[in-house]
Amino acid sequence: MGPGTLYGSLDRMLGSGLVEETGATDDERRRYYRVTGFGRKVLAAEVARLRAALATARHKGVLEGAHS
């Protein structure tokens, strides 16, 4: 992911409350972020959604013959 894509996504995640700034810094040009509690819940839900999609795909044999 390039810098432009990264900070656009970060801005939207901040706006949605998924991540927050830590306030800690070792260099004024660097800022650190962490996932919020709400962000963890959304992340868990998204992982569950992807797992369910994968399970459905496996069950229906969509992935048969696919090479990784």
Binding site: M1, G2, P3, G4, T5, L6, Y7, G8, L10, D11, R12, R29, R30, R31
Partner: protein
């Protein structure tokens, strides 16, 4: 190579202008720092690295501009609808105004078309131009009545009811040549500054070969056009004010509406 790298970095730095101002102010320095980190840690070759970075810059700046536009529209949807409606109505109103103006201008060619046809037929069947064209005096600067002029093959006037400064107006040689080769022409003639005439000219063949020109002052049409433009402009202005006021009121009403959860 170092010089080229510095140049490409400087260009990248300037190209951050492609991002929306808010994002640039908020994250500009961080984007550059991440860029430097990526440059120091790069795994792929120099050309590949720069290509990836510039590709990301172009793609993400377009996406961010789209996001920003969507945010603005979502914040004030009524202004967006009003702007769209305003644009559609401006195009429709402009088209209607131009159509009406063209209709006015076409109407200005009557009765010259019939007059030119009538006198051209008479002269073509052998009538002498000075006998066929009745005596009359129409001052092109002052009078609104239609007039008729007969020019010979060389473009020299032989009979006329139209005058400007007590002389028969002379057709430009290019116009004479055009009518001679094309048979007829309908155009706006300005024999003198601010004197505009709606003209229908027809070529005559036979013993009295030449051109019959029938004209009429465009003063009344210009006055009607001016009224039309004024109505269109003030109508458009009122429409813009109403749309802005309507959008502002609807936006306010929407903000003040209680949220039911």
């Amino acid at each position: 190579m170092k010089g080229l790298s510095a140049l490409l970095f400087s260009f990248y730095k300037r190209a951050l202008l492609l991002y929306p101002a808010r994002l640039r102010q908020e994250y500009g320095q961080q984007i550059l720092q991440t860029f430097r980190d990526a440059r120091d840690d790069r795994k792929n070759g120099t050309a590949g690295f720069w290509l990836e970075m510039y590709k990301d810059l172009l793609k993400s700046s377009c996406m961010e501009q789209m996001h920003m536009l969507r945010e603005h529209v979502m914040k004030q949807p009524m202004f967006f609808y009003a702007l769209t409606l305003g644009l559609i109505l401006t195009v429709l109103g402009g088209t209607a105004t131009l159509t009406l103006q063209q209709m006015l201008r076409r109407e200005a060619n009557q009765p010259q078309a019939e007059m030119a046809n009538f006198y051209a037929s008479e002269i073509a069947t052998g009538a002498a131009p000075d006998e066929s064209i009745p005596p009359g005096y129409v001052d092109l600067e002052r009078n609104l009545e239609p007039f008729v002029v007969f020019y010979n093959e060389q473009g020299k006037p032989e009979a006329s009811t139209g005058y400007i400064d007590q002389s028969i107006p002379i057709l430009p040689p290019g116009v004479v040549d055009y009518i001679r080769s094309h048979g007829s022409d309908t155009f706006t003639w300005e024999p003198r500054t601010a004197v505009r005439i709606a003209v229908v000219a027809q070529r005559v063949t036979g013993s009295h070969a030449g051109i019959v020109l029938a004209g009429r002052s465009l003063r009344l049409v210009q006055r009607d056009e001016s009224i039309l433009y004024r109505i269109a402009f003030f109508g458009w202005l009122i429409l813009v004010v109403l749309l802005i006021a309507g959008a502002a009121l609807l936006n306010r009403a929407q903000r003040m509406r209680p949220v039911v959860t």
